[in-house]
């Protein structure tokens, strides 16, 4: 078995569309798990923010989906997939301030148009696959550096 194939799935849960009441629970669970694994606080914060933005995006923008997190010796991968509608204009979606969020989401304080930018900022690698009418899968990879990665 290759070393980089040793991976452990530590989170795998469904995220319901429009469910703001439990929104963030998956991210919170992941954060606690990472803390138990002894991952440095700075790294946990990056992962937590990226995961929370991914989770909230599923709730705000999609018909529902799932959130999965995998740990390997060198990185954490967070994968958000959904059943649709897919992102029509990917370039615009990554523009700071651009948002297609509903009025309801905006009233709750979402829709700043920073979600995908934040995910990109806090990930070391970001892969997005999307098809209008089918759905989207976003994979955020955060590397686990050797000790001394903290940089305030």
């Amino acid at each position: 078995m290759q070393k980089d194939e040793i991976k452990q799935v530590i989170l795998d849960c469904e995220v319901e569309a429009g469910d703001f009441s439990v929104g963030g629970e998956a991210s919170s669970k992941l954060k606690s798990l990472l803390h138990k694994l002894g991952i440095p606080a700075q790294t946990i914060r990056k992962i937590a923010i990226a995961t929370y933005e991914l989770e909230i995006n599923i709730i705000i923008h999609t018909y529902g989906g799932s959130l999965k997190a995998e740990v390997t010796p060198s990185e954490i991968r967070v994968i958000a997939s959904d059943k649709g509608p897919g992102i029509a204009d990917l370039e615009k979606a990554f523009q700071p301030g651009y948002s297609t969020a509903s009025q309801k989401a905006r009233e709750m304080g979402f829709g700043a148009g920073m979600g995908l930018c934040n995910i990109k900022r806090y990930s070391d690698e970001l892969n997005v696959e999307t098809e209008v009418g089918k759905g989207t899968e976003i994979e955020a990879r955060i590397y686990l550096r050797e000790s001394g990665d903290s940089n305030e």
């Binding site: 929104g23 919170s28 914060r45 829709g111």
Partner: protein, 118 residues
């Protein structure tokens, strides 16, 4: 700046208790969740008018130390319960956001730096 000083400067009412000696290093005033998530540093106090429970999730993700609701806003019970569960102190002040931020800033509480987490 300690939590008790913040409380005094803003004449704030405590909703969920926190340690009076809690040291705060910077402040952030925002009414949009993702704007808060874009700026994040430990030991920060968030001043906001957003009272729904997602503001507690946001605080949890970014390790915010204290949330103060401005303009006299009172959060719903779901927000209070989640804050208690997550151990995040909450306060409320009658002052509007601009004034509350200004008072803390003038008293020496630094602004949130838009620092990239490396």
């Amino acid at each position: 700046m300690k939590l008790k000083e913040v409380k005094e400067i803003l004449s704030a009412q405590v909703i969920v208790e926190g340690s009076e000696e809690l040291e705060l290093l910077s402040g952030c005033g925002a009414d949009l969740m993702s704007d808060v998530l874009a700026f994040s540093k430990e030991n920060t106090v968030l001043l906001t008018g957003l009272t729904n429970p997602q503001v507690i999730r946001t605080a949890e993700m970014t390790d915010l130390s204290l949330i103060i609701f401005v303009r006299g806003k009172q959060p719903p019970v779901e927000t209070i319960e989640l804050a208690k569960d997550r151990g995040i102190p909450l306060m409320s002040t009658d002052k509007p956001l601009y004034q509350a931020c200004g008072l803390l800033y003038s008293a020496g509480l630094r602004a949130e730096k838009l620092a990239k987490l490396e």
